[in-house]
């Protein structure tokens, strides 16, 4: 028989306001196993914890029930308290009489009645509790960062700085991400390349960091501290360690008409290319879709001109396996497709462009060498219309838009408008907005400067239609404050397209068993208190893969994710959660039901010898749970047809006794 102590907390008036705590403590005194019962104003306070410690010692308690707030809040606190008094921490159970009782009931009698019942259930459970001891698992002291944008770069640099090895896997031929495509950055207008490329070089030169560019993660196995990732290094047909990045091949390749993705298709590159001058690694890549040698076996010009002998047309995709203790997801975002927004005529006119395309048009290394020229005829535009919220805040358009605010477009549109007016005072610049959202440090001041100092026309209203006519774009829009419909003859229309997570994010999340929201942004373990951790242990989040954000926020989060990774890798051993599943080998019939439902892949099967009553041995296949991988979700216990699978700390008989106590 257990010797159980019951501690009923008032939580100030949070509980005591609707639950008669005195009556609850009294009523629970007579429950089986209970030898001590009391109530106190704040059980979580130092004084409250001292009461518990003292009672454990004085009454030789073997189990504790705290009737208080949610276990999510203070279970750890009370377990630690019990442990300090010499009790096994898993002999503590919480009856949630706040969130599930006092907060949802209005009158005292009902609240009190329910609190008593919840207390009885917890007591029934503790009566069947057994002391549990957490196991330990080792930690591989290396980290994997998936995605090499500014988020991945910053996280990798910070982890390496603490002395741990990091691998960055980037699917493009170079790291840098979207920031490498941006011209200048709000709110200070420093040139993106000037602040990004030094970091890219740092990554390249850091001994602790390896870059797998033009590579993807295709499989992840294992668990916190012990992941194994398979990395696919796509064939780039250039020997990475031999290529000097001289670029001669990219000048001589006869295939000149390949749309250049770095400039968003606004100019062309060759079939062999280096994405941009400061690319890291600065190595050429052959595009197999356009190289005539790879397609037809004829050409070979690049191999002839390459003095280093780096070209290798026989290269194959390569798969390598690496071990890591922690994984950081930094897969970023992309602007959504404008194909379905017919009203803006994006597909009808070259002079309707997205904001990211505008960045390239303004950039000295862009298709127009930094001169603002229309994509259609290369003429200088005089009237430019910017449209905000294109596809953002759009709840009606499931398959084309996004319900959320993309957060960055108000600011980058103000930046574009301001820079345009600054460089080309002869332009008329209109910005159509629904709201201007600028809640950041120096952000609103920045937007007001665009209006007050640079004369950008901000119009509250939305563009309804863009109609290409001759070499102009007829823009029809509303001016809500003037209560007018206005028509503008524009030379260029710039759409602030909503942003969405990279398409590879969902399959990656499945691989990592990391959760996502309905928009495919990675979900954090707690939106306020654990913002850079995924709910899956050992998986961390960095940058825009978690939600729309600008560079300052991305870098801050990247550093935070790195510090969490460092905290993990600094440990030699990890304690595991002892509340895991275990299978009774005698009862298990090896049916595989449990392995099929386990979301974490924790269950494998082993062949075991069993001695029969007649002394012969029988070899049977039985389930075996990897305790370090099991997260204690309990799916397996539910599906096991023979009742062999059970969850420590939440055993079937414990749950049933709780139900019985409630129904009594």
């Amino acid at each position: 028989m257990q010797r159980i102590g019951v501690f009923v907390c008032w939580c100030g008036s949070n509980i005591a306001g609707t639950v008669d705590v005195q009556a609850v403590a009294e009523a629970l005194k007579t429950e089986p196993g209970v030898v001590f019962s009391t109530n106190y104003q704040y059980m979580c306070s130092q004084a409250g914890q001292d009461i518990m410690k003292q009672a454990i010692k004085e009454h030789n308690l073997t189990g504790v029930v705290v009737c208080s707030c949610s276990p999510r809040m203070h279970e750890t606190t009370f377990r630690k308290t019990a442990a300090a008094a010499g009790l096994n921490p898993y002999m503590v159970e919480i009856a949630n009489i706040r969130e599930q009782c006092s907060w949802v009931h209005k009158d005292m009698p009902t609240g009190t009645e329910k609190a008593i019942i919840l207390g009885k259930a917890a007591i029934a459970k503790v009566n069947l509790n057994t002391p549990l001891t957490p196991g330990e698992s080792p930690v591989t002291k290396r980290a994997l960062v998936i995605g090499g944008g500014i988020a991945g770069i910053q996280t990798a640099l910070d982890i390496a700085d603490a002395g741990f090895e990091v691998d960055i896997v980037e699917k493009k031929p170079t790291i840098g991400g979207k920031m490498a495509q941006i011209d200048k950055t709000f709110p200070t207008l420093d040139c993106a390349a000037c602040i990004l490329t030094p970091k890219m070089v740092d990554v390249a030169q850091n001994e602790k960091i390896r870059i797998f560019s033009y590579a993807e993660v295709t499989d992840v196995k294992g668990f916190v501290g012990n992941f194994t990732a398979t990395i696919k290094k796509k064939a780039r047909y250039v020997k990475e360690d031999v290529c000097t990045g001289c670029g001669i091949c990219t000048e001589k390749c006869p295939q000149k008409k390949v749309p250049n993705e770095f400039n968003l298709g606004m100019d062309n590159r060759r079939a062999v290319y280096i994405p941009f001058a400061q690319a890291v690694p600065k190595v050429a890549t052959i595009d197999p879709d356009h190289c005539t040698m790879l397609k037809t076996g004829k050409c070979g010009v690049c191999a002839k001109v390459c003095t280093a002998g780096a070209i290798d047309y026989t290269q194959k995709d390569e798969f390598i396996e690496e071990n890591y203790g922690a994984i950081v997801v930094a897969t970023g975002y992309n602007p959504i497709s404008m194909d379905k927004f017919d009203e803006f005529a994006y597909n009808q006119s070259k002079d309707v462009i997205t904001s990211l395309e505008y960045e390239r048009l303004m950039n000295a290394a862009g298709p127009t060498a930094g001169k603002l020229l229309r994509p259609s005829d290369g003429k200088h535009p005089h009237t430019i219309v910017f449209v905000q919220c294109v596809g953002s805040r759009c709840s009606a358009c499931d398959e084309k838009g996004k319900e959320y605010c993309s957060k960055i477009c108000c600011m980058y549109t103000a930046k574009h408008a301001m820079l345009t007016r600054d460089k080309y005072p002869d332009t008329d610049v209109y910005v159509f907005y629904i709201d201007v959202r600028t809640p950041g440090k120096s952000f609103d001041e920045f937007y007001r400067r665009a209006v007050e100092d640079y004369g950008v026309h901000y119009i509250k209203g939305m563009v309804g239609k863009v109609m290409p006519e001759g070499d102009q774009l007829k823009v029809r829009a509303s001016d809500l404050l003037a209560n007018k419909q206005i028509n503008i003859d524009a030379d260029l229309v710039v759409l602030a397209a909503a942003i969405e997570p990279d398409k590879s994010a969902r399959p990656l999340a499945t691989m990592l068993t990391a959760s996502m929201d309905t928009n495919d942004f990675f979900t954090e373990a707690h939106p306020k208190l654990r913002p850079v951790e995924s709910p899956t242990a050992g998986v961390f989040l960095s940058g825009a893969c978690q939600g729309p954000r600008d560079i300052p926020e991305t870098v801050a989060q990247a550093g935070a994710a790195a510090s969490k990774v460092i905290g993990l890798l600094a440990k030699d051993k990890l304690t595991c959660n002892p509340c895991v599943a275990s299978s009774n080998e005698i009862m298990c019939n090896g049916c595989s039901s449990c392995a099929n439902v386990c979301p974490y892949g924790a269950i494998t099967y082993v062949e075991k010898e069993f001695r029969q009553p007649d002394r012969t041995t029988l070899v049977r296949r039985v389930a075996s749970v990897n305790e370090a991988v099991c997260q204690g979700c309990g799916c397996c216990t539910v599906v096991c047809p023979s009742g062999a699978m059970d969850l420590k700390g939440f055993a079937n008989n414990q749950i049933m006794s709780e139900v019985d106590a409630i129904c009594k």
Binding site: I434, V463, G464, R476
Partner: protein, 128 residues
């Protein structure tokens, strides 16, 4: 109070929830009949939302809407202003107490490609 009932009725019949409107003005930015109207599509939505129905019912704007559905198609929040306009129009017609259409003549006048709502609206409008 009467207005409140009228407001409820207009909303219920149209199936539109004016509270979804984020006042972006895209409907009014796209409406081909805008200049003919005294009250514009986004104002319609707002006036119904706030129960300011009388001026709407007395306004010629009701009959200027082409039921082209450009606003319905483009509204980012799925508000469907044209359906609200239609619903107000119906209230006016029902107040007048008669239906302007002889049902027997419908098959002869309709054009197959016309949206159903346009047929009903157009007939009510012109068959005076």
């Amino acid at each position: 109070m009467e207005n409140k009932n009228l407001r409820e009725e207009i909303i219920r019949r149209s199936g539109v929830n004016p509270l979804k409107c984020m006042r972006c003005g895209k409907c009014s930015g796209t409406c081909p009949a805008y200049d003919e109207m005294e009250y514009h599509p986004h104002q319609f939505v707002y006036m119904v939302e706030t129960g300011d129905i009388e001026p709407l019912m007395n306004s010629k704007s009701l009959y200027k809407c082409l039921t082209c559905f450009a606003c319905v198609d483009r509204c980012p929040r799925g508000v469907e202003p044209a359906k609200l306009i239609e619903s107000v129009r119906l209230s006016v017609i029902r107040q007048q107490g008669n239906n302007h259409l002889n049902t027997d003549t419908i098959p002869d006048i309709i054009d197959e490609e016309m949206p159903q709502q346009a047929i009903v609206t157009a007939l009510r409008k012109y068959n005076k």
